[in-house]
Symmetry: C2
Subunit: 203 residues, 2 copies
């Protein structure tokens, strides 16, 4: 098995690295040089036609892409500790929260990065007004999540899960690009301290 990725703070490859630490799976990342655009090369596109990382290449040559799908594969081959839930309701709950973290939390951060941040301005066409509007969308998402965390220690409930990995990598990336956690959000801040104390945080 070969895992193609890139160093942090890119959130998607980091999610897989964090997941592997939580699972106790030792699989070093094969680094893709994104500056040299290796992920857009013909050779890499044969593994992932979208030219994206992370991508997991299995021993028979089949390649799986999409962060959560890759992590789900590891969950299947090594079920414990469970990060996607064990029962029907646990699985549905974790999947719901993974998706909420992606659609509600990560989407505005991604849009801000893609359409407003100076780093990407040099690389791609930006729609700045739209990009800027995502600052408020992310603030709203933080406020909502802070309230949700009032009654539970982790994103999907009592147990740490893939949803925490998705949320933590998003929040850390957002901080890095200039959108920190609003310190008024006590529950969100406490949750972030809780997940940041885990060994996976340094992945």
């Amino acid at each position: 098995m070969k895992l193609y990725g890139a160093p942090m703070p890119a959130p998607n490859p980091r999610r897989v690295r964090m997941f592997l630490v939580e699972k106790g799976i030792d699989l070093p990342e094969t680094r893709i040089d994104m500056i040299k655009r290796e992920h857009k090369s013909e050779e890499f596109r044969a593994k992932n036609s979208l030219g994206q990382i992370p991508t997991l290449e299995l021993d028979d040559g089949e390649a799986i892409s999409e962060t959560v799908a890759i992590c789900r594969y590891f969950e299947e081959i090594k079920p414990e500790p469970s990060l996607f839930g064990r029962t029907a309701i646990e699985k549905a709950r974790v999947d719901m929260w993974v998706r909420r973290m992606e659609f509600v939390l990560m989407t505005p951060v991604g849009n801000y990065w893609r359409h407003f941040h100076p780093y990407t301005a040099a690389l791609l066409t930006q729609y700045k007004d739209f990009g800027e509007s995502n600052i408020q969308a992310y603030a709203n998402a933080q406020k909502w999540l802070d309230r949700e965390l009032e009654t539970k220690p982790f994103i999907a409930g009592e147990a740490y899960s893939m949803a925490d990995i998705c949320a933590q990598s998003t929040v850390d990336f957002a901080t890095w690009i200039g959108l920190p956690i609003d310190p008024e959000h006590k529950n969100l801040t406490a949750w972030h301290a809780r997940v940041s104390a885990r060994p996976s945080a340094s992945a």
Copy 2:
């Protein structure tokens, strides 16, 4: 169990309806009046704090939202016919394609609808330049998907899956809002005819 939804062509509630037909599960939809903004009412927000449909309310009162999480719950309680895959690699493959359909195919359609379509212009602040740019993004996505379908009958491979439901509901919604399939894309067109011939297509 109570399934909250709304009539087509809204793609997310339709996905759950299609999934239930494919599974042979008889669960009528409890219709939410979106014009009256029932989904944003305090009563409904107690079930889903984001005020979104579909939402599945279980007999113990717990509510699951997010289309794919709801379908995954049904897959767990009634595994056959499998729509998310049976083995580790099948599950990873389906999840990868579900996500690709959401992120690559649905995102530009959703952005176009949200930021360019006259219907939403009356309801929300639009960033029209950004919205319009998604026409090209969706055209690129169609082209990519057409090529991917050159060698397989269904989105995730040989078997019909949740990824087909996600793709079909996206393509049909896109057509409805003015972004039809480019007839030059023969594989995509043939795939669409194939999935449209299934009983679930009328859900």
